[in-house]
Symmetry: C2
Subunit: 202 residues, 2 copies
């Protein structure tokens, strides 16, 4: 079955090539401004043929969506080296924000853009769930060490995530212009430190 194997490899290569072209255009122009013809053009291919490898535009998007989550999860790996749960929690936020800063376009695809998400169980959503579980676990560890007393861990997790996401979302949708005289970097990082200061008193 050497031929069939090679066939499949070739198919995967084409799949990758489309994805590479799509990644460039998607991250450059966002979901709506990316067209199948753009993608096809980028890799000198015909628009119709893309549908031989992907069901539709949304499926390509979801592939990148998943890709983004893998990237993020990878960045979070270093947290294993942080023993203290509260320190780990704080580092988690910093990495999350750094990720949004470094990968504004991925962040948009992952957390802001909404396209027909027929099945939430697929793609990056599973990984998102895992990431949230990780966050939840850290928080519970913190509570076992006496922090965040009397807080419901579920709601507390949601609140922490909201705060992190809020900082990143304002940045990624260019809603920081109202804060004149501060760079986005300053806003995000010092804003986060303010939040950490709140946590520290709790």
């Amino acid at each position: 079955m050497g031929i069939a194997e090679r066939k499949q490899e070739e198919k995967q290569e084409m799949h990758k090539r489309i994805l590479t072209g799509a990644r460039k255009i998607f991250l450059e122009k966002g979901y709506e401004q990316t067209s199948m013809r753009n993608i096809a053009n980028e890799i000198n291919y015909s628009p119709g043929s893309i549908y031989f490898y992907f069901k539709d535009k949304s499926e390509i998007f979801h592939e990148l969506h998943k890709e983004g989550f893998h990237l993020l999860v990878n960045q979070l790996k270093v947290l294993n080296k942080v023993a203290d749960p509260f320190e780990r929690l704080k580092a988690m936020g910093r990495i999350f924000i750094q990720f949004a800063k470094d990968n504004k376009d991925y962040y948009n695809l992952m957390f802001i853009v909404d396209e027909p998400q027929k099945v939430p169980e697929t793609g990056g959503f599973k990984i998102a769930q895992e990431a949230i579980n990780q966050l939840s676990a850290v928080i519970k560890e913190c509570q076992q060490k006496g922090r965040f007393k009397g807080m419901d861990p579920e709601y507390f997790t949601f609140m922490i995530l909201s705060a992190m996401h809020g900082i990143c979302a304002l940045f990624c949708t260019d809603r920081t212009t109202s804060f004149v005289g501060k760079t986005n970097d300053e806003l995000m990082h010092h804003g986060y430190e303010c939040f950490v200061a709140l946590l520290e008193k709790s």
Copy 2:
């Protein structure tokens, strides 16, 4: 000049009629899924004629964007009756979140959707600025009464806004599905109460 006056009134009426149709479709389907032909159809009008009253689709959007901010600012009016700055701050957040819950579609238009925003000085942006100034003022008042000691008011304002927005944005972009067994209402309100609990300890 009675005729000219009537003429202008008629023009304003058409303007309004278009906006009414647009509002319905925009809030129903969002920015991208709303087409000029949809709007025209809604009010039994021709697509081309809309351009006699509006420069382009984006201009109609900005009108609704502004409308949304007026709605929000109106809701915030009741805060004048709250004397204590910290109580006012807490109420502010509650109203903000309630607004997002009640006007999910407006919230999307106002804070999440991004379309070619050529001139940030126009439309709802000015009002957004005012709302932020209001928030900033409340926080400074709180600090004068001894709260939030040692916090930079600018960054602290940004952080508070981020936390509020994060809660609303996760809700409005349907990113709350990871928290199973809790309704959106519970998540948003109890999530917010968690945040308030943090503030209270500061």
